[in-house]
Homo-oligomer: 190 residues x 2
DNA sequence: TGTACATCAGTGAACGCGCGTTCACTGATGTAC
DNA sequence: TGTACATCAGTGAACGCGCGTTCACTGATGTAC
């Protein structure tokens, strides 16, 4: 055992470590993709070694599922400030969101990889979709619930697509234009 | 050298092999993701060994860039049949497209991975975005060119987002609904 | 047209590397008395 | 309250594996005479 190592750790500290791994993982996965971050990078970001991931989560796959849920909860907390559709759409389609995937939307960051993920991970992701749609539906003008949900569903799809493409293209002008025209189009509808 | 091996190959045959690698690569990348297909799988799918990839393309990265362009050309040829916006949108947002990524849109299949790709690959991808937007803009009712492009840009973003999400979620009902509401919404506008 | 030789698409062994996971071990924490 | 012991979060070495790439080699194709 190396010099400064502490072996057994208090339950409190262990829970703290667990939260820190989840928070760092949620950021790293969005920044580099699910397969772009190894277990070493995941635990190192939290100041631990890879083995601790298996004590806490059992597998990388399980950690991925939990990191999605954990990170989305953080997003929901931060998004609580946007109390109108207009504000939510504007924030989502902003250059700031585009340029900071690590603290942004999981759907835009990881959506394309989902078809190839485990049931556990896809389930977490699907809950994020449902939650996002429900939140926007709640901000839409009152009509029948089903109708609001449908509107919100199409709205979310359009927003996700715009950010995916805005991040993907190598031309900043085109990227800005994708965000701008989608903002204009969705404002028109709302 | 093993039994049935042919070593030097005619220029004709070499070009044929090259096309076959590109075609198979375009399919495999869309089905399994760029990092989900190794050089062995890529060349084996064309009946060759991994070394030939380096004769033909120099690197996996270069092959990725060329496979995107090659595969998109195939899509353009097949899409020529859809001569109206309505037909194009309906085909794009169909369950058939959702369930067959290997022959479908590159933007929906690989968009999320682009931020982390090489300049070469991102450039190919950006050309695909521009081409897709230009094609749809050409089908839109005549107004000023800029206006049609803006409309097409927002349209493409919405379509891509819908297919990404429809493929990602683990609930078939939700998946179908994403396609249906986006179809309805975009038909309304067009 | 026939012969000699250079070219180069494709082969397959080998490379270093990072991946996810396992496992024996550590020793402070937490518990039972 | 004090002591003896079990627990278990975290360590670090080791595992097999597949990755992208390199390289010496092959031998039919293509070319120069």
């Amino acid at each position: 055992m190396a010099k400064g190592d502490v072996m057994r750790v208090s339950k409190e500290k262990a829970e703290e470590n667990r939260q820190r791994i989840l928070t760092e993982a949620a950021r790293l996965f969005r920044e580099r993709g699910l397969s772009g971050v190894g277990v070493d990078a995941l635990t190192q970001a939290a100041g631990l070694t890879h083995g601790s991931l298996y004590s806490q989560f059992g597998s990388k796959d399980s950690l991925m599922a939990q990191a999605l849920t954990h990170g989305h909860a953080g997003n929901v907390a931060r998004a609580a400030g946007n109390s109108s559709i207009a504000a939510s759409v504007a924030a989502y389609l902003s250059p700031e969101h585009r340029d900071n995937p690590g603290t942004g939307c999981f759907m835009a960051a990881l959506g394309c990889d989902m078809p190839r993920q485990s049931g556990e991970v896809r389930h977490s992701f699907t809950q994020i979709v449902r939650g996002s749609v429900a939140r926007l539906a709640g901000l839409l003008p009152k009509r029948r619930k089903r109708e609001r949900e449908d509107r919100a569903l199409a709205l979310v799809a359009a927003m996700v697509g715009a950010v995916v493409l805005a991040r993907a293209v190598d031309d900043p002008e085109l990227s800005n234009r994708i965000l701008a025209v989608t903002r204009a189009r969705l404002a028109e509808e709302a």
